[in-house]
């Protein structure tokens, strides 16, 4: 494997609110240029914390205790603010989770889509407008002029997610962090959005970290996958390998827990309690 564009090394984080368990325990992961890495886990596994850390928008209540986030070999945690500004939200961009709240309801699409272009690239309003039209066309939005004039509430969920994808690619980032971008959408729209993400990624040769709890999505879009549980990495590898021959009991349980549409009569199999208990003990020592 060539040198990864992004490399998280033994990252640990705790919450400043009370003495709860660590949020991240010694997390390490690598992302090669223009590949898609799935970051999978249950709620509270620490997926979103990593995503936020990569974008420099960790809440003040989360404190990183150790580790490095190496972007092209430079540690984002120790770089001066002046230099991280050119990385967060520029070289690393976000496709947010919920298209309903990710667009400001009081501003037109044009203003929100061109924020980055104007602030980061110093484009004129006219140039930014032209670029926004191109971007919207690229995410298959018909009548982009009209969409630019629209307010978010006038667009459907799928349209909004397309706008957000266009906004994420606007600055030609090297990495896109997609934080469960399809969770809030219905299944048919989900498919379109996944396909669009794939197209855009191929066309722009962008690396993507795809945060999700849905192994089905991972199977469709990710080259490699990292599984997390309670803030620790459980298993990591090529998607095909992991899904067909999982090594870890938790991975097997998670795959088994997925609903089977071909056998609706089969009972849902939640991840067994004793396995969860065992895992909690297993990860408890990590990252302390």
């Amino acid at each position: 494997m060539t040198a990864p564009i992004l490399s998280v090394r033994r990252l640990s984080a705790v919450s400043e609110l009370g003495n709860a368990d660590p949020i991240l325990r010694n997390v390490s992961l690598d992302l090669a240029a223009s590949e898609t890495l799935g970051l999978v886990g249950e709620s509270g596994a620490g997926k979103s914390t990593i995503a936020k850390a990569l974008l420099g928008v960790l809440p003040r209540t989360v404190r990183i205790t150790q580790g490095e986030i190496l972007f092209e070999g430079r540690d984002l945690r120790t770089l001066p603010r002046r230099e991280t500004r050119a990385i967060f939200g520029d070289a690393i961009a976000l496709v947010p989770q919920d298209p309903m709240t990710a667009l400001n309801p009081g501003r037109r699409i044009e203003a929100q889509l061109t924020d980055g272009l104007r602030l980061r690239r110093g484009m004129s309003a006219h140039a930014a407008h032209k670029r926004a039209l191109e971007l919207l066309a690229e995410v298959h939005i018909r009548d982009p002029e009209r969409v630019l004039r629209a307010y978010p509430h006038q667009l459907s969920g799928g349209m909004r997610q397309r706008v957000l994808i266009a906004a994420a690619f606007a600055l030609e980032p090297k990495i896109i962090v997609a934080d469960e971008p399809t969770t809030a959408l219905d299944v048919t729209v989900q498919k379109q959005i996944l396909r669009l993400m794939r197209q855009m990624q191929k066309a722009h040769r962008t690396a993507v970290i795809f945060v999700t709890h849905d192994l089905g999505v991972v199977a469709q879009i990710c080259d490699r996958v990292t599984l997390m549980f309670a803030g620790a990495v459980i298993e990591s590898g090529a998607t095909a390998d992991i899904l067909s021959a999982p090594r870890h009991a938790y991975t097997r349980a998670l795959i088994a827990a997925g609903p089977r549409y071909d056998r609706p009569e089969a009972a849902l199999k939640p991840v067994p309690e004793d396995l969860v208990t065992r895992l909690r003990l297993e990860v408890a020592g990590v990252g302390r």
Partner: protein, 299 residues
């Protein structure tokens, strides 16, 4: 390609949010009724010298204590009768609207301004900033508002300016609490995270991204506050702490009419009715605005 992508552009009449909002406002009956009354009152107050039948200060002891039109021994032209000094009640009522509205608009605006500024800071910066501001609000709200306003005006000295200052100083807390909560809610939204990630400075995000989304909740509150300001002004006039007695005010008229309530009840009843109707109109307008602008209630 099979993407149903852009086919879902909704058939709205036009992408102009402002005009859509305006239309939503106009079909809301409470906004129409409340706003219509207030608008009419503003016109009356503005053109008081031309609308009022006579000078509100002119005394005529021969025509004193005339009953309103329609009652026995009423004089033609004195629609609402006269008070014990022979001053025309209707004319005094019309001129009284001036003070009521001036106080309502300026005091409510100042209270909203101060409360919004502090509420934004508290909701945005949280931590000790929120701690200080929220404790201040708690302490403030523990004071009985009417007594506090009387105290304030007594200290500041009587006059419209003092009345306005007193109302703003007391009632900023209402705005502060609402704006603080709304700011906190908006700050959690993903679009704020996105704005952070793009690299806008925090203060820019607060003013450009969050403030506009707080305004709808604020508008309704401002209207309600105007109603409250009208009442407080009347109370302060009633106890003689508002403008000097040669300027007619509704509160002052109520105080004067109270002395002769058994003989000339209309001197008392007319300003009371005006006060009642005005406050009701402000409240209806506020409630209507809330309904029209709140996307949850509108569905």
């Amino acid at each position: 390609m099979t993407d149903a992508s852009a086919s879902s552009f909704p058939a709205t009449s036009g992408p102009n949010l402002a005009s859509r909002r305006l239309r939503a406002l106009l079909v809301e009956p409470k906004v129409m009724i409340g706003g219509g009354f207030i608008l009419a009152l503003i016109v009356v107050a503005l053109f008081a010298p031309w609308i009022a039948p006579r000078n509100p200060l002119d005394q005529d002891l021969i025509l004193a204590s005339l009953p309103p039109a329609g009652l026995a021994s009423a004089e033609p032209g004195y629609y609402f009768g006269t008070d014990d000094l022979g001053r025309d009640v209707l004319s005094r009522l019309i001129f009284g609207a001036r003070i009521a509205l001036i106080v309502a608009f300026i005091a409510a605006s100042l209270a909203a301004l101060a409360g919004t500024a502090l509420g934004l800071l508290a909701g945005w910066y949280r931590g000790w900033v929120d701690g200080v501001i929220s404790r201040l609000v708690d302490i403030w709200m523990a004071f009985p508002p009417v007594l506090l306003s009387i105290l304030l005006v007594a200290v500041l000295g009587a006059g419209v300016g003092s009345v306005i200052a007193a109302i703003a100083i007391i009632d900023w807390t209402r705005f502060c609490r609402v704006v603080r909560a709304e700011t906190m809610a908006q700050a959690e939204a993903d679009y704020v995270t996105a704005a952070h990630a793009i690299g806008f400075p925090p203060f820019h995000i607060l003013m450009r991204e969050i403030l506009p989304n707080v305004v709808p909740a604020l508008l309704a509150l401002v209207s309600l506050e105007m109603g409250i300001a009208v009442i407080v002004e009347a109370i302060l006039s009633f106890v003689g702490l508002s403008v000097s007695s040669d300027t007619p005010t509704w509160g002052g008229m109520i105080a004067e009419g109270r002395q002769f309530i058994h003989q000339t009840w209309w001197v008392f009843a007319a300003p009371l009715a005006a006060l009642f109707a005005t406050v009701l109109a402000f409240n209806q307008l506020g409630d209507g605005l809330r309904r029209a602008l709140d996307p949850v209630l509108r569905r």
